[in-house]
């Protein structure tokens, strides 16, 4: 069976570059969170920048922010795993052979990683809500997202589609 020629679409090189940029941005974001975590032990600094007056509530806010930063840091390698696998998938498309078992596995692991990230986002959102007070509102863009969960479901389905596509591709390859 002849392989399809490598795609000449401009979308793929663009996707490749964008993904690589996102990988760098992700690590930079991770470094920023790490720096923030290193600064956070200095309670006075946070109190001043958030204009908090010493109180048990202020301690809660600081504890909550630290927890959020830790969870945010956990998300960085997970983001990296997703982006790295997407780069690998885009590379196989560029090579003209995306229906391989490795891509089905990659999509499956992307789906699991996204699922973990969704849970992480809900945990972060919950912490944000818990420490948020009228006097000290903590506004964090995290929590339950119907779109996020839909994406998880779609990628699990896509992984199955790829697994089936790979099987059909193998059959076609072996047909004379």
């Amino acid at each position: 069976m002849e392989r399809t020629p490598p795609s000449s679409s401009a979308a793929l090189p663009i996707a490749n570059v964008v993904l690589r940029i996102l990988i760098v941005i992700n690590w930079v974001g991770g470094a920023a969170i790490a720096v923030l975590l290193l600064i956070m032990p200095h309670k006075q600094w946070i109190m001043t920048s958030l204009k908090l007056s010493p109180s048990p509530d202020a301690d809660h806010v600081i504890l909550g922010l630290r927890a959020i930063a830790v969870f945010g840091l956990v998300a960085i390698p997970l983001n990296y795993l997703i982006l790295k696998r997407l780069v690998a998938i885009v590379d196989t498309v560029r090579a003209g052979d995306p229906f391989v078992a490795a891509n089905a596995d990659r999509l499956q692991s992307i789906a699991w990683t996204l699922l973990v990230l969704q849970i992480l986002s809900m945990v972060i959102g919950a912490i944000g809500n818990a420490v948020s007070k009228l006097a000290q509102p903590v506004d964090i863009d995290a929590g339950f997202s119907i779109n996020g969960w839909l994406a998880v479901l779609l990628i699990f389905l896509l992984a199955r589609v790829f697994a089936e596509g790979t099987r059909m591709r193998d059959d076609l390859e072996g047909t004379v």
Partner: protein
């Protein structure tokens, strides 16, 4: 696979080489080799027809079912 391809025997009987057969039926030698060595997963009716035409034989002369050969995925 319990399906055995007996193309070698037929070619020997007809005093024909694999390359000749490939030329006659317009198939690549590579694909015909896949069939001959039993590595093919499926055969098109059109391929079977072309081979039968070229070798003046029946599909059963080329293919055999051998239950002793366990199905291997």
């Amino acid at each position: 696979m319990a399906i055995v391809v007996k193309l070698d025997d037929m070619l020997h009987d007809r005093r024909m080489t694999l390359t000749e057969l490939a030329d006659r039926i317009g198939m690549t030698l590579a694909n015909l080799s896949i069939l001959k060595t039993g590595k093919a997963r499926a055969i098109r009716f059109s391929t079977l027809e072309a081979i039968c035409d070229a070798l003046t034989c029946q599909p059963g002369d080329i293919l055999k079912h051998d239950a002793s050969k366990e199905a291997v995925k």
